[in-house]
Symmetry: C2
Subunit: 227 residues, 2 copies
């Protein structure tokens, strides 16, 4: 039984990878850089987007919002005058806990790819399954809030191991927490040695410039424009 | 395609429900009350257990720890001199994002059911799939940290709708957050009108007595002992 189950899962992941490559080819043709943005619920993905998407000089941004239900995050971003597309995962089950390549593919027609340079895909809040499904992204960015504790890289290693940038958010709360930042960074290096990381606070704006510049650099690299 | 997929999922949930009933029958025979404890990663499930499991007069507690990988939480609880059993969900995939009835069933042989009155099953940190799978519990308790924002009931409605008690944790941080507690409670009542809720802080101990008494009452009800 166990063997059969694993084979089914592997086939599902193979199909997902094929669709992710097709998405990636479409993004490439359109000249769009794509970020898969992931985190636990409430870590601050939308707040960190609010801080930057309206303020990236020369970069036209679009957002694809993944949620089990509702459009709360899309509504928050709509005021920033960037195109936002909502993707809900609830039909057919209690709700899918992640985006997969086929879901993103189903949204391609609704995305204004010819009018944007950067697409940010905000995944469902979850530290497990989103890491298992490529959706056609260039890079993976994850947000880890200091309120979640230092042990998260060790408990959810695939998420931390497969991302290209870790945004350590809510550092304005550090003085009020029993949180050992050095221990977190040590745990992070245990599962993903040397991965790029930024300390920031969506609330106060501290460190947000580096995140904004990183996104700008990503698009320049993609378009082949010197900084 | 979509229709087929839904049918497969429904069959999987049917099988899960059958196994959950079998687990429940075994727990009933042993006279053990069972709590399925759920939350997002880092909301404070283990910290709230540390506060109470060693200090429930007349109640013998056991814990089943569900994690993708590792035994960090089990190690934390081991010092409290209660039996702790570790269940890891990582074999065969990148890691299952939830416990299901069959996983709990596979652990039954390792649980000292004859020697405990209360089993707390600490689920994988995730607000989506754990809510979809019964494991044989009497009650579901979820932890929602105030650091996660007021919108979570609306974004993860199944989790909030299917629980019997909501522990609103980390209230010691309220003064440092832009968090509207009244708005959270309003959202909670939108998806689960009148569900029991407790405001507490695992860090300071505020409100923890009510949580301890609630667990004691659960066991007394189960054993038919008057309070």
């Amino acid at each position: 039984m166990h063997r059969t189950r694993v084979r089914i899962v592997e086939e599902a992941l193979d199909a997902n990878n094929t669709l992710a490559r097709a998405n990636r080819a479409d993004f490439d043709r359109a000249g769009v850089a794509v970020v898969n943005l992931m985190s636990a619920p409430g870590a601050g993905k939308t707040s960190l987007l609010e801080r930057v998407v309206g303020d990236l000089p020369g970069v036209r941004v679009g957002v694809l919002e993944g949620d089990v239900q509702g459009s709360l995050d899309a509504d928050r971003l709509a005021g920033l005058h960037v195109p936002v597309t909502q993707l809900n995962t609830d039909p057919g089950f209690g709700g899918e806990c992640h985006l997969d390549a086929n879901m993103v593919r189903s949204a391609l027609g609704a995305l204004p790819l010819a009018e944007i340079d950067l697409l940010v895909i905000e995944n469902v809040g979850n530290l497990v399954c989103p890491a298992e499904f490529k959706v056609g992204e260039d890079v993976r960015v994850m947000v880890s809030s200091v309120t979640e504790g230092e042990d998260k890289p060790l408990k959810y290693p695939l998420m931390f191991r497969t991302c290209d940038l870790v945004l350590v958010n809510k550092i304005d709360l550090l003085e009020h927490l029993d949180y050992d930042l050095e221990r977190f960074l040590y745990n992070l290096d245990q599962v993903h040695p040397g991965v790029q990381r930024m300390l920031l606070s969506a609330r106060t704006g501290e460190g947000v410039d580096a995140w904004r510049q990183w996104l700008g650099g990503l698009v320049r690299d993609r378009l082949g424009v010197p900084a």
